[in-house]
């Protein structure tokens, strides 16, 4: 077995903002955490804690981490009894994205799901000359709220958790990951956003299922057999994937202070009519091994 699979569960200690293209003055938030965001946060944490008073080698460590660790996306989850249940997206014909929980027993439309999860905070900059709102700075930032907004009126406050998996090549970086109990992820962390604390960290044993799907841990990359993708699938990297349905978006980002030119990607929840063995690459993207160029 080349790879060890672990499941980790995080609790939001503050609102979390993972940006996506804005709509006017609204900075929209993704309802999940992409693997690349996690990789960045884990790289920063490990390189700082392992480097005392020196300047950390972020680039080198980041490269090693990407080679030896693979992250799935983190999806919102809740704790019921002693079980952690994740909400997973699935694209459906005529209905768009739906979110499923508890092995498909519960579902919500994307709109209702986002309403249960997200909150927004308005803000302006204050002009120092007048001590009032500075012209043209009004904006609103959507965030994942630390608590589920419940529609059942039971009045119980239930914490929002984030659930995902980590794969470690020959268990490398295991000790460093064991040591991490708090991370700051996403945007606007200097306004206190994005603080998460780990509440679960377990090896996935035996039959090896990830998000309820079978995984293969012997190859060059960990492979998940699934008819739904729960990560981004870049289009330019592989030949046409037959019969995939879902939503595409243009995905970009930043790399060491430089904008990283994005690509068209299928978003998490896109599905096929037959299962495919997906491998997770160093950036956390899902790749159909057979179709890789």
């Amino acid at each position: 077995m080349t790879w060890t699979a672990l499941r980790w569960v995080w609790r939001l200690e503050a609102p979390l903002f993972v940006g996506m293209p804005p709509a006017g003055a609204l900075n929209r938030c993704r309802p999940y955490v992409p693997a690349r965001v996690l990789w960045g946060a884990v790289t920063a944490e490990i390189s700082r804690s392992g480097n005392g008073e020196g300047f950390p080698g972020y680039g080198k460590l980041g490269g090693e981490l990407a080679l030896n660790c693979r992250f799935t996306y983190l999806f919102p989850a809740e704790k019921r009894g002693d079980k952690f249940l994740a909400w997973m997206p699935k694209f459906e014909k005529m209905r768009g994205h739906q979110w499923y929980c508890n092995g498909g027993k519960e579902s919500l439309s994307d709109r209702d799901f986002r309403r249960r999860l997200l909150d927004s905070r308005p803000g302006t900059a204050i002009a120092s000359e007048s001590d009032s709102a500075s012209e043209g700075t009004l904006r609103e930032t959507e965030c994942i709220n630390p608590w589920w907004r419940d529609s059942n009126c039971k009045g119980e406050t239930n914490a929002i958790l984030l659930l995902g998996y980590v794969f470690l090549r020959n268990n490398r970086f295991r000790r460093q990951l064991d040591d991490i109990d708090t991370l700051f992820i996403g945007g606007d962390t200097r306004y206190g956003l994005g603080k998460i604390c780990r509440v679960g960290w377990h090896e996935v044993s035996g039959g090896s299922f990830v998000f309820g799907q079978r995984v293969c841990l012997d190859g060059e990359h960990p492979e998940i057999e699934s008819d739904i993708v729960w990560g981004h699938v870049l289009e330019g990297d592989q030949t046409q994937i037959d019969g995939i349905q879902g939503v595409k978006e243009f995905l970009g980002g930043w790399d060491w202070g430089k904008p990283w030119r994005g690509k068209i990607a299928w978003v998490p929840g896109s599905f096929l009519n037959h299962p495919v063995a997906w491998s997770i690459d160093q950036n956390g993207y899902w790749v159909d091994k057979e179709k890789k160029l």
Binding site: F184, R190, G192
Partner: protein, 316 residues
């Protein structure tokens, strides 16, 4: 601790009982002060304390003629600790070494037949990141007040505003809570009147005991009330105890324009830069309605959390 009522508004006005509402958590409905508001005023006050006002305060965008804007220098305590932005369309900003959490209500003052009482709940205590409180469960009995088993608890019941509740003294964690809260530098007259209620009751007690004031806008031309300008606004009352965290990063782990950070060289120095502005909070305050005598805060104590490792975590 709030020295005045504090109004950090939602920016919108709402029809109904109150025109100018304050920011609340959308689920717990408990008022809070967003970290972005705190970061903004602390930046402005630090710039004042360091003689860098108004250049290094504010948004940092230079004016059309190129004047003003953040200096962005590695030896500027304001720009290194609070971060800086460059003009629109240019790269090379810096996120800053200090991060400010939202301010949460920890102890809330309520009138009773025994004078003011300060109320808290397990959820508010858990949010402090004090290790001993991290596993506190909500109270089993929802409709009672828990107080210390000393002379003050002789009364069998207590009114908290309009709520009339039986008093109990058999909740074990209370003595440890008292002790830990005292370590935060909270005055004895508050500790002596501390009571704990369930999470659900706490929301009700806070929301029905906020300060709601009525005011009129004055027409500057006539010096009299403007037509139709009567409005109300709500605020956290004076002597509310709020809790916040400042996460201070190690300057040695960051570079500015490929160079070392020069203004500060340790997480403790980052904390000191922030702490230098506390006296301004006490005199100039935070939030809106400053001209109506609102918004001043006193930082009671800065305490490094036990068990906090690399990032210097602070409690104020």
């Amino acid at each position: 601790m709030a020295l005045d009522p504090i109004h950090v508004g939602t920016g919108g006005t709402r029809l109904g009982r109150v025109d100018n509402t304050i920011v609340r958590d959308p689920v717990t409905r408990i008022p809070k002060i967003p970290g972005s508001s705190i970061a903004g005023v602390m930046r402005a006050y630090t710039a004042m304390a360091k003689g860098k006002y108004p250049k290094c305060a504010g948004l940092g965008q230079p004016e059309r003629n190129g004047a003003g804007g953040h200096c962005g220098k590695a030896d500027c305590p304001v720009c290194t600790v609070f971060g800086f932005a460059k003009g629109i369309g240019t790269y090379g900003g810096f996120a800053g070494l200090a991060a400010f959490s939202d301010m949460h209500v920890l102890l809330f003052p309520v009138a009773s037949q025994l004078g003011p009482q300060w109320i808290t709940c397990p959820m508010a205590l858990r949010q402090t990141s004090i290790a001993e409180f991290s596993e506190l469960d909500d109270l089993l009995e929802q409709q009672v007040v828990y107080r210390k088993a000393d002379g003050t608890a002789n009364q069998p019941s207590l009114n908290l505003g309009w709520l009339f509740l039986p008093v109990k003294t058999d909740w074990q964690p209370l003595s440890e809570i008292d002790q830990k809260i005292e370590e935060l530098g909270i005055p004895g007259y508050i500790i002596g009147r501390l009571a704990v209620v369930s999470d659900k009751l706490f929301t009700h007690i806070v929301n029905s005991n906020l300060e709601v004031r009525t005011s009129v806008a004055i027409d500057p031309a006539t010096g009299a009330a403007e037509e139709g300008a009567l409005f109300t606004y709500e605020a956290l009352p004076r002597s509310t105890v709020l809790f916040w965290e400042v996460t201070c990063r190690n300057p040695k782990h960051f570079k500015i324009n490929q160079g070392d950070v020069k203004a500060v060289d340790s997480p403790e120095k980052v904390r000191d830069v922030v702490a230098d502005a506390y006296s301004y909070l006490e005199h100039l305050g935070i939030g809106g309605m400053g001209s109506r005598g609102m918004g001043r805060l006193r930082v009671l104590a800065t305490k490094e959390l036990a068990g906090a490792d690399k990032p210097g975590k602070e409690v104020s």
